[in-house]
């Protein structure tokens, strides 16, 4: 009943938060082997100390450096044979690669697992989180991505042994060109304990500075609704929702966001939700614990000032 957990690696470094949350979700299923593909030896060493890791496999080949789906899926598919479960945190890397692994192995993928009921039964959201489906897998290998918001990160444990795995040949189907990564000192959206998001009500890219100012006063990450991203007010990687990022911070502040179903899907599991909107009928108030009805261009600077 062994588990292969694919660690989230970015530019060689470990995304410990996402990986350790996924570890918490799967470690009761059996001894967990962590795969660190395209990672540095330092990142593998950090992964080895996540409580629950029984061993770490390090694949250092350059073909894994950008987490391209074709070489990564080929590697996971080769390794999968000795495991009953193969899992990864539900990041854009895993959503790209794991269904490809499923296609290679001729098994289904179970995306966005919210809860592990038993070794073959899992809960997952459908219809943008408007329904929760419990599925039982009949496949020999249970392949799944873990929605990390439902799990606390596993702590530090004894360092597990690290083994190097042989690289496979790059299938040469695709090539990485560039990453246009939004450089910022801001907290990472999915792991921040506070998030401030802006919506269409911000009315311009320049006005988004108000959202950022409020986020600064709260030490929060910055998010956005799809409408704000579509309108060019905010970059795509800030998008919270059904098809963007799913967050569940201690505090979520929605500014000028009406609360479309697809946005609620990405944040309604936050512990405390605050909504600031001029429309008192906005659906966001149906999920908000605290609401302020009024002009955000007055309320947000006032709130920012009060918090400083």
């Amino acid at each position: 009943m062994a588990v292969l957990l694919v660690a989230e690696i970015s530019k060689g470094a470990l995304n410990r938060d996402a990986t350790a949350k996924a570890m918490r979700a799967v470690r009761d299923l059996g001894p967990v082997t962590l795969l660190c593909a395209g990672a540095t030896p330092e990142a593998a060493a950090e992964a080895a100390r996540i409580d629950g890791a029984a061993r770490v496999l390090l694949a250092e080949g350059t073909q894994y450096a950008h987490q391209m789906a074709e070489p990564l899926a080929a590697l996971i598919a080769v390794l999968a044979g000795e495991f009953e479960h193969v899992a990864a945190p539900a990041t854009s890397v895993a959503k790209n690669a794991l269904p490809r692994v499923a296609g290679l192995l001729d098994v289904m993928v179970i995306p966005d697992v919210l809860k592990v009921v038993d070794a073959e039964t899992f809960e997952r959201p459908i219809y943008a989180g408007n329904a929760i489906q419990t599925v039982r897998s009949r496949d020999a290998v249970k392949l799944m991505t873990i929605r990390t918001t439902g799990f606390d990160a596993a702590g530090e444990g004894e360092a597990a042994p690290i083994e190097t795995v042989a690289d496979l040949a790059d299938p040469g189907l695709a090539a990485w060109l560039t990453d246009a990564v939004t450089e910022s000192d801001r907290l990472e959206l999915t792991s921040a304990s506070r998030v401030v998001s802006g919506g269409r009500g911000m009315a311009s890219k320049e006005n988004f500075a108000l959202v950022e100012g409020l986020a600064d006063s709260l030490s929060a990450a910055v998010g956005a609704s799809r409408a704000a991203v579509d309108a060019g007010y905010a970059p795509n990687d800030w998008q919270v929702g059904q098809t963007g990022k799913v967050v569940a911070p201690d505090l979520y502040v929605a500014v000028g966001i009406s609360g479309a179903i697809q946005h609620l899907a990405g944040m309604k599991d936050s512990k405390v939700i605050v909504a600031i909107n001029k429309d008192e009928e906005a659906p966001i108030f149906q999920v908000a614990d605290y609401g302020l009805v009024g002009d955000l261009f007055e309320l947000v600077p006032e709130l920012t000032g009060a918090l400083r």
Binding site: S92, R100, I126, Y127, A128, R138, A174, N236
Partner: protein, 252 residues
């Protein structure tokens, strides 16, 4: 160059889903259905490539119940050239899993030999986000998922992908699978004359059995339930009241 676009008929995105009383699934009886919005974006992109002279023919395919031909007719009205309906059951509540869909699509690709398949990133009913990747694996093709920009030149697709950290550019050799994200384009509305014309465009019906693919599910649906609801909270009169409440709630 032929382009194949798989489309799915799903509950319209404006409809509030209701879980059936017996907990077997979401109620689809007498509910407005439409083409999956991400698939509309995929169809639009294919049509634009044809209009730009890059593609010669746009073929749309849907796998599911007979009523899925509505989605195909919509795609034809948008500008696709012909359609294939793969009948895979007659119970509207029986979702065909992405793996079975991908296996059937692989057979359609063998028969039609497109150089490019554009799928929607995910269907908004089961939110699986898997069919395109699985199809790429079955065919041994490269994949460029979650595309927000697509350019075709010299046998290569150059794709900008929406990823967690921002945007990523990759090149994938054709034939390949691309999946459409929200910002790839804004799909057109079909005009009334085009809707009439679409009724005369060819739509071929086949069945899953014709392709020798078993569509029985690998995932047994044990139950479906409503999520835990959230109670609407309180509206406050001032910023100071809000700060006070947040301190009391222990989040400041």
């Amino acid at each position: 160059m032929k382009i194949l676009v798989p489309v799915k008929r799903v509950m319209d995105y404006n409809v509030q889903p209701r879980v059936k009383a017996d907990g077997s699934g979401v109620d689809l009886a007498n509910v407005k259905m439409s083409m999956n919005p991400f698939d509309e974006i995929a169809v639009e992109e294919a049509i634009r490539l044809k209009e730009a002279g890059v593609a010669s023919e746009v073929i749309v395919v849907s796998i599911g119940v007979k009523q899925a031909q509505d989605a195909l007719r919509t795609a034809l009205a948008m500008g696709a050239d012909r359609a294939i309906l793969v009948n895979a059951g007659d119970d509207v509540h029986q979702d065909i899993e992405p793996l079975a869909v991908a296996r059937i699509l692989a057979k359609v690709v063998e028969a039609e030999a497109p150089e490019l398949v554009i799928t929607g990133k995910q269907a908004i009913d089961n939110d699986m986000n898997a069919t395109g990747q699985m199809l790429a694996a079955r065919l041994g093709w490269g994949q460029a998922m979650f595309a927000s920009k697509l350019e075709i030149a010299d046998g290569v697709a150059k794709v900008t992908r929406e990823v967690d950290g921002g945007l990523q550019s990759i090149e994938v050799k054709l034939p390949a699978i691309v999946s459409a994200d929200l910002r790839l384009n804004e799909p057109r509305y079909a005009s009334l004359p085009n809707i009439m014309k679409a009724k005369k465009k060819p739509l071929v019906e086949t069945s899953a059995a014709d392709y020798g693919v078993d569509v029985s599910p690998r995932l047994e649906i044990v139950s479906v339930r409503e999520p835990q609801g959230r109670q609407a909270g309180i509206k406050l009169g001032s910023v100071n009241e809000l700060v006070g409440q947040l301190k009391e709630a222990g989040v400041l």
